[in-house]
């Protein structure tokens, strides 16, 4: 654990990619294969099921530190991370052990699951007592299932590839499924990852690394100069579903998410669709809830995410289908090196025989201005904009442009001007800085600046709102979109304008207006405003506009009406 904790600190301290890769390579070179296997698993995002509930860890830490729950909570508010809070409140360890990572996980952490709560607490207390604060922090993260570190899976793959003298793409492919919930990292597994010998995957369900798109922002006058004629591109709608790969080999179907999670059991409808595919076929596409001839809002699909038990009702309310848009393997051959157009042609033939699977339609447009106009229909069609795929593009690995490019050309978000009314401190890097905000709009248009100001003064002096009068109605929370500097400035204003503190939340005198952007809007019975927005974030601070000109519930209603009736 000491060596792993050193690696973690090196990765955590550095912002330079090369320094991180070097630190990883040193680690792989020094530790044995079983330790390396677990390190790869955790660093690449593997999460074992939570072993011990968070509440138990908290209570135990309070008991060992001899502090009351309220004092622990104060600490947690300052730290912004449970494992780190625990690591610091515990009394110093009398002596430190040096047990290897694999032993920690296999012989100590995983067996915890089977134990009675009292026995769990006894053991964890003993484990904490043999580690320094950074060791405790890591252990608690691993026990709590919340381990995250500032390296991407791609970086881990690069370090492994450099360590082993392999192509990073080969490692990426071998690593598919390595961090799946059911995976059990082992020394053998690690040796396979870095083996110089070719390892066939035709008899396994391994998917290919996903090819990711780059974003085009807004409109471009010079599209033609930049991208060439539209005829060079395959243009498709960008659907807002779950990106997935269907692997059909040796009579078996596997469904993988972009997060490399095996989702086969969660989507029986898709398995049915895929049964008709010939062996040795891999498709890339989107899982969608489809109603009539259009995709349903993402909210419906969300009901299927993370749900293990599929009741009849869930299957009836949110039936899914698969929209295919690429072919990665055909007749057992890896066809990713084929040009996009050739893969598309073959894909059309494959989908034609597969039982009612959807094929992502190509959008016809001979000029870019024509496509710009068509793109305006996105919101009515329930899609996010366009995907542009070059006809010559190979299917690449990750977000790369080496083999040709995919562009995502999303429509501009919906936006309203809203007023900040509550703030809460963030977590991790943003601990103790107020970065999570609740926003409100007026329930109706203020008649003038004076009326709005009177309501704001009433809030500031904590008078109850007049239920029939002008009010601010909270409707969305957002915590992204500002620069660190802007967050610092807003944090300062929040501290100066705080009215009340409710635990970690502060209410503030309304003084700040923001333009909020969001991807979608729906009615909701769970929100006071009757409205739920998707992916809200701050686009900018509106210092230029007086508060009485903020948007209203009516603005939101109009946005609701503007979208297609589902």
């Amino acid at each position: 654990m000491r060596r792993f904790s050193q690696l973690f600190n090196e990765l955590d301290a550095s912002t330079a990619t090369t320094a991180k890769v070097q630190a990883l390579k040193r680690y792989f070179a020094e530790v044995d294969d079983a330790d390396a296997a677990w390190a790869v698993y955790f660093l690449a995002g593997g999460k074992p099921r939570q072993v011990v509930p968070t509440g138990v860890l908290r209570a135990l830490a309070c008991q060992l530190a001899g502090i009351a729950e309220w004092l622990f909570e104060e600490c947690y508010q300052a730290v912004g991370d449970l494992a780190e809070t625990i690591a610091h409140v515990l009394p110093p360890a009398p002596s430190l052990s040096d047990v290897r990572l694999a032993q920690w996980v296999e012989q100590r952490l995983l067996p915890l699951r089977e134990l009675a709560p009292e026995e769990q607490a006894l053991r964890i207390a003993a484990y904490w007592n043999e580690l320094d604060p950074s060791g405790r922090f890591l252990l608690t993260k691993l026990i709590g299932g919340g381990f995250r570190v500032g390296v991407s899976k791609l970086l881990v793959q690069r370090a492994l590839a450099e360590h082993a003298g392999l192509d990073a793409k080969v490692v990426a492919q071998r690593m598919m499924g390595f961090t799946d919930k059911t995976a059990r990292p082992s020394a053998d597994g690690f040796r396979q990852l870095i083996s110089r010998d070719a390892i066939g995957n035709t008899d396994s369900g391994q998917p290919y690394p996903f090819f990711l798109a780059h974003a085009i922002e807004g409109l471009h006058e010079s599209f033609h100069d930049w991208l060439g004629p539209p005829a060079d591109w395959i243009v498709e709608w960008k659907y807002d579903g779950i990106r997935a790969q269907i692997v059909k080999r040796a009579g078996i179907v596997w469904i993988w998410s972009r997060g490399e999670e095996l989702m086969t059991e969660r989507f029986p409808e898709v398995v049915n669709l895929a049964q008709g595919l010939p062996d040795g076929t891999v498709l890339d596409g989107e899982i969608l809830v489809w109603k009539g001839d259009a995709p349903a809002p993402f909210a419906l699909l969300q009901q299927r995410i993370g749900r293990k038990l599929l009741t009849k009702k869930v299957l009836a309310d949110a039936p899914v289908t698969f929209m295919a848009y690429d072919l990665l393997e055909w007749q057992g051959e890896d066809v990713r090196p084929w040009p996009q157009a050739k893969r598309r042609e073959q894909l059309e033939a494959v989908v034609a025989v597969a039982n009612s699977m959807l094929l992502s339609p190509m959008v016809a447009g001979t000029t870019w201005p024509e496509l710009v106009t068509l793109r305006e229909e996105s919101r009515q069609r329930g899609v996010e904009g366009f995907m542009l795929k070059h006809r010559e593009a190979r299917y690449g690995t990750g977000r790369t442009k080496a083999e040709g490019t995919w562009w995502k050309w999303k429509i501009d978000p919906l936006s309203v001007d809203a007023i900040l009314i509550y703030a809460q401190a963030g977590h991790g890097r943003r601990a103790s800085v107020y970065t999570d905000y609740t926003f409100a709009v007026w329930n109706r248009k203020p008649s003038d600046a004076g009326e709005a100001q009177a309501v704001i003064e009433a809030i500031a002096t904590r008078q109850p709102a007049d239920p029939d009068g002008l009010q601010l109605v909270p409707f969305a929370k957002a915590y992204s979109g500002l620069t660190d500097e802007e967050f610092r400035e807003v944090d300062r204003i929040i501290r100066q304008t705080t009215l009340e503190k409710f635990g970690p939340v502060r209410s503030v005198k309304p003084t700040l207006m923001f333009e909020l952007g969001f991807e979608g809007i729906n009615r909701s019975t769970r929100h006071k405003s009757g409205i739920a927005v998707r992916f809200p974030r701050m686009l900018r601070i509106r210092n230029d506009k007086p508060l009485h000109e903020a948007d209203t519930l009516q603005t939101l209603e109009e946005l609701l009406d503007g979208r297609a009736a589902w």
Binding site: C75, A78, V433
Partner: protein
């Protein structure tokens, strides 16, 4: 809020903490006639008071910061003066050179106002000033900068081992090591604690000014180079550069090529604070008492009443009340909102050292 009608020896006033029977203030934040100064950090020692009283050891730093012409009377630690019937003496607080606790005795009651203080573990003293001395009293006024149980310092020997190892590794790789810390107190503690045999040590002008006052007061610091005096720029590779945090991201830093940078502060205990700083390393080195230190110091006074100032007042008050003590808080203007924000603001584009004082 404390009432003036009580027999309290120190009360809160808009100008600062006030001693009614003695008619003087302790570390006032607005100009007054008579000010007792616990130490020379900017938020405790302000301009504009008619009379200053401070420890003998703080004279050099105080004058270098507030001007030679201030009307300053000094007292050796432990010596008592009588002012309007209040017996006043100063006792070491272990925070920075000359830092004092103020002991007040009047009408059979003893109060101690601690200012900022640092309490070290055994064998772990801050070598740049006289260590904290517990003073028995009826009422103790304590700071609470790090008044949460998450703040528990490692022995400083371990911290200096880490700093030395970092410096050595950078020097071997041919990089300068830029270590940022407050120019008054922290910088000298760093200088006195590092292994000067690793390489040359270069200091920023703001640090140099304070170093002179420390050396004049007899504090042993290793030889340092003032940047402007370095003619052989080749020396800078492998040097330790000690500078105030305000140099972070400034043109001043680029003189040293591409140095590895680090920040020394108690706030570096937390990962979030380290990451927000955006430096390569954070060393947990504080001139304030940690949580166990605060508890130890309070206990050693034997005080039945404790008044908490700047930092985590609410937390400390509740904790002390639960331990059966009579506890309350004074609101002070010693940068408390900065404590709430976990770290002092970063001044990106100035080489002035004026902005970085106070918190630590």
């Amino acid at each position: 809020m404390q009432s003036f009608a009580t027999q309290d020896l120190v009360v809160e006033r808009p100008q600062g903490l006030y001693c009614p029977p003695g008619d003087f203030y302790i570390d006032p934040w607005r100009p007054v006639d008579r000010a007792v100064i616990t130490h020379a950090h900017g938020d405790h020692a302000r301009m504009g008071n008619a009379h200053y009283l401070a420890s003998q050891q703080s004279e050099g730093v105080l004058r270098s910061r507030l001007g030679d012409d201030i009307n300053l009377q000094t007292l050796p630690y432990g010596e008592v003066i009588n002012h309007h019937g209040v017996r006043l003496s100063l006792h070491p607080a272990g925070h920075v050179l000359g830092s004092s606790q103020v002991r007040l005795e009047h009408g059979g009651r003893v109060w101690v106002a601690s200012g900022d203080y640092f309490v070290c573990g055994p064998g772990d003293a801050n070598n740049t000033c006289v260590p904290f001395e517990p003073v028995r009293c009826d009422c103790f006024i304590t700071e609470s900068t790090f008044g949460l149980p998450i703040y528990r310092w490692c022995p400083q020997r371990e911290v200096f081992d880490d700093i030395n190892a970092w410096w050595r590794a950078n020097a071997e790789a041919g990089h300068a090591s830029l270590l940022m810390g407050y120019s008054f107190g922290k910088a000298q503690r760093i200088l006195a604690g590092v292994d000067a045999s690793i390489g040359p040590i270069v200091v920023h002008g703001a640090v140099e000014t304070i170093n002179r006052a420390y050396r004049a007061a007899g504090v042993a610091l290793p030889p340092t180079l003032y940047f402007n005096d370095v003619t052989d720029k080749g020396l800078l590779k492998g040097a330790l550069v000690v500078a105030p945090p305000s140099v972070h991201g400034s043109a001043w830093v680029r003189r040293f090529g591409d140095p590895s940078d680090a920040f020394a502060s108690g706030w570096m205990q937390l990962r979030g604070a380290r990451r927000r700083r955006g430096v390569d390393r954070g060393f947990v080195l504080s001139d304030h008492a940690d949580w166990p230190g605060l508890q130890r110091a309070i206990e050693a006074t034997g005080a039945q009443r404790v008044i908490v100032t700047h930092g985590y007042e609410a937390v400390m008050v509740r904790w002390l009340q639960e331990k059966g003590l009579q506890a309350g808080a004074f609101h002070t203007e010693y940068d408390d909102e900065r404590h709430d924000a976990q770290e002092p603001p970063v001044q990106a584009d100035t080489t002035s050292a004026e902005s970085e004082e106070g918190t630590e």
